[in-house]
Symmetry: C2
Subunit: 194 residues, 2 copies
């Protein structure tokens, strides 16, 4: 127990570890967009990333864990900081924000990663949306601070994220700007009746 600094909190490198991590993440995203998730194996990822397979087996034990990490980092701010639009009105914030969500869902890499994360199990799929959920809460808080009355986050997520994700994941319908606009409008109208 004598060692003063066993390098426990040593993990803030800008060096090799970070480069490897970044290369692996990129390899996963690229490969997912190119081939069926079924073919995504650790050696294949390693070769694409220019890294030795052993590294992957040691740092991430399974593809599931790696996918969860990649999904988290892809669908969240890198530093854990929430970035939300602040246009002055809830409607403006939501429209700006939904654009970002739609960008994720229409990007081939994004949707492929989302699908793979869902397939990897509950943890990974929840990780994809936890940040979006927090952003939604932040925007509702802003509106509340302005004196507006807003529904709870749960209903907002159901009404906004629900349709967007449903269409992206389960249908091949186009997600056009006007439809997204309608979704936001339906949410803002609906909160009065609820």
């Amino acid at each position: 127990m004598g060692s003063v600094s066993p390098n426990t909190a040593n993990a803030r490198p800008g060096g090799r570890a970070a480069r490897v991590r970044s290369a692996v993440h990129r390899a996963v995203r690229e490969l997912l967009a190119e081939e069926p998730a079924e073919a995504l194996t650790l050696p294949v990822i390693a070769e694409r990333a220019g890294v030795h397979p052993t590294t992957l087996y040691r740092r991430w034990r399974t593809i599931g864990e790696l996918l969860a990490e990649v999904a988290t980092s892809r669908f969240s701010g890198e530093n854990g900081e929430l970035v939300v639009p602040d246009t002055g009105s809830l409607r403006g914030d939501l429209e700006r924000w939904t654009e970002g969500v739609v960008d994720d869902l229409t990007d081939p890499e994004g949707i492929a990663l989302l699908r793979a994360a869902i397939g990897a199990g509950g943890f990974a799929s929840r990780a994809c949306m936890v940040d979006r959920h927090a952003q939604l809460a932040a925007m509702l808080d802003h509106e509340r601070a302005r004196g507006g009355t807003v529904p709870e986050v749960g209903r907002a997520a159901d009404t906004l994220l629900g349709p967007l994700l449903y269409r992206a994941v389960f249908t091949d319908l186009q997600i056009g700007p006007d439809w997204v606009h309608d979704v936001v409008r339906a949410f803002l109208d609906g909160q009065r009746t609820g």
Copy 2:
């Protein structure tokens, strides 16, 4: 070329082929509920089903295709016939129907199969909901036949299936009867404003 009946339309067996198919389907559903989808491999399925691996490699080339078939048969009427509730009112139909959807989504086998199908790619995941979509359309048609005014199927799917699937797939929130009730009510209220 002389052969009169090359048994092209010979595929309606109640015999061995159907038994194997059924055993394999059940094996897939069971295994998905027990272990991570990552461990789902054709030899493993074959052993659980009491069938030789070669059979799987020949009938279904990949796990993806097998998953798509299992998902289709699990989430659809076996014979392609649509079964929808007919309570006399749209509200009653929708509440009965959402119960069925929720049953699918809260059943451990059901949600695991859904997740795996999503992971298997666009085709399989779309197959999971095509029947639900058709049922929704049928119920709206019934209401329209009664003289009621109903929104289009797309909006109904967004508003009903969206929240249900969002919660089941992306959150660990409980899906309680009262919440489901609220979702249906929100849909029925919202159609007036739209």
